[in-house]
Amino acid sequence: MKTTPIFRLLLPMLLFAGLSACGPIEPWVKPYERDRLADPIMSLDPDPVSTAYTHHVFEAREGSRGGEGNSGGGCGCN
C-alpha cells in the first residue's frame, strides 16, 4: 500500500499521541539538565517591578494592551 507524504508525517504524531494517552509524559529535559535554565540570566522576567512600569509606559503611548506575558516563567529548577 502506498502512503502519501502527509500520512507519513501524521502517522508518527498519531502514534505519539496514542502512546501519550497510555501513561505519563516523561520530562525530556531532566531536572539535573536544567542548570543553564536556572541561571538568573535565563529568567523571562527577572525584574517584575521594572517590567510593570515599562508596560505602563508603552500602554500609555500605544493603542495596544495585554499579551506581553508575565504568567508562568521560571524553569522548575529550584
Binding site: R36, L44, R61, G67, G69, G72
Partner: protein, 378 residues
Amino acid sequence: MKYRRAGIVASILLVAAAGPAIGDVLPDDRADILYHLYDGGGVTIKGPSILVRKKAGKSVSFVANYYVDMISSASIDVVTTASPYTEEREQLSIGMDYLRGNTTMSISVTNSEESDFTSDSYSFSVSQGMFGDLTTLTLAYSLSNDEVRRSDDDTFVREADRQFYSVGLTQIITRNLIMGLNVETITDEGFLNNPYRTVRYVDSSNPIGYSYEAELYPNTRTSTAVGIRARYYLPYRAAIQGEYRFFTDTWGILSHTGAISYTHPWGAWTFTGKYRHYTQDQADFYSDLFPRSEATNFRGRDKELSKFVSQNFRLQASYAFLQDGWGFVDKGTVNLIYDQLLIDYDNFRDLTTGALVGEEPAYRLDAGVYQIFVSLWF
C-alpha cells in the same frame, strides 16, 4: 486619562509578574525600590514604586506594591487645546499566593486614586506545573471598576468596567531554550473616552480654519493579544531573547510588536541591550481633522489611536552585591535602565507649526525613560 487606565492594566500585570514563578514553587522573598522618570513631548512623569514579597510558612506568600505617578504635562494635546497641568496618581496593590501540590492560586486587589479618577481591580489566577515542571499553565481573570470625573465639573461622574481573561503557557523546550505563550482578551464597557480631550473639525467660520468639539468613543471595546517569547542560553554564558505580539480590537486597531534582546554577564555586572519595534493601524473612528462638526457617530483624535511606528532602544546595567549575604539579606542588585522612545506618527499632525490647515507636518515624539532600582532577596 489614558495614562491612568494604562496604569491599571500594568498593575494587574505586576500582580501576575510578582505571582507564581512556577506551579509548585512560591516566588522568592524580595524587596524592590524603584524610581522612575519619563521625560518627553512636554511631559514629565516621575515617582517611586516599592514592592515587598514575603512568605508566611511553606504554602503562603504575601505581596504588596505602592506606586506613584507625579505628572507635569504640557503635551502636544495640552498646548493646542488646554492649559498645562500637574497631577498625581497613587496606586496600592496587595496580593496573596497559596501553594497546594503543583498548583498555586493567587488573589490580589488594587486601588488607584487621583483627583478625578478612581479604579478598583480584583484578580484571581491559578498556575499549574505539569510534565515534571517542563510546562506551567496559568489561567487568570481580573475585574476592574473605574469612576471617571472632571476636575472642573463636580456633577460629572461616569463609570467603566473592564474584564481581563488570560491564558499563559511557559514551556521548557531544550536544556538551553525556554518559551512563553500568552493570550489575553480584555473587554471594556462604559465611559471609555477621556472627558477632557477633543477632536478637530473644519470650521470656515473660525479664523484659524478649524474648531474643537468633545471626542466620543464607543461604549464597548474588546481586544485580543497573543504574545510569544523565546529565550536561548548561548554557549559562552549569555542569553538572547526574541518576542512577538499580535494585537487586534473591535475599534479597528491592529498592531505588531517585535523585540530582540541580548544579556551578557561580566563579573558582578550584567548588561542588557534591547530593541523593540511597534507598528499600529488607526482606530476606525480616528481622524486628525474631521470634515465638519459631528461628522461621524464616534470620533477621536488621541494620537494613541492614530497610525504610527514606535521604536524603543534600551540599555540596562545591573550590579550584584552582597553575593555572600549580610544579616538577613541573601543578595542584592542595583540596576540602571535607560530607554529611548521614538514615535513617528503617520496622521497625527503637529498644530504648533502654523502650517495650512490639514497640511501640518506629522508629529514626532522623542522621549527618554529612566529607571533606577535596588532589589534585595532575603
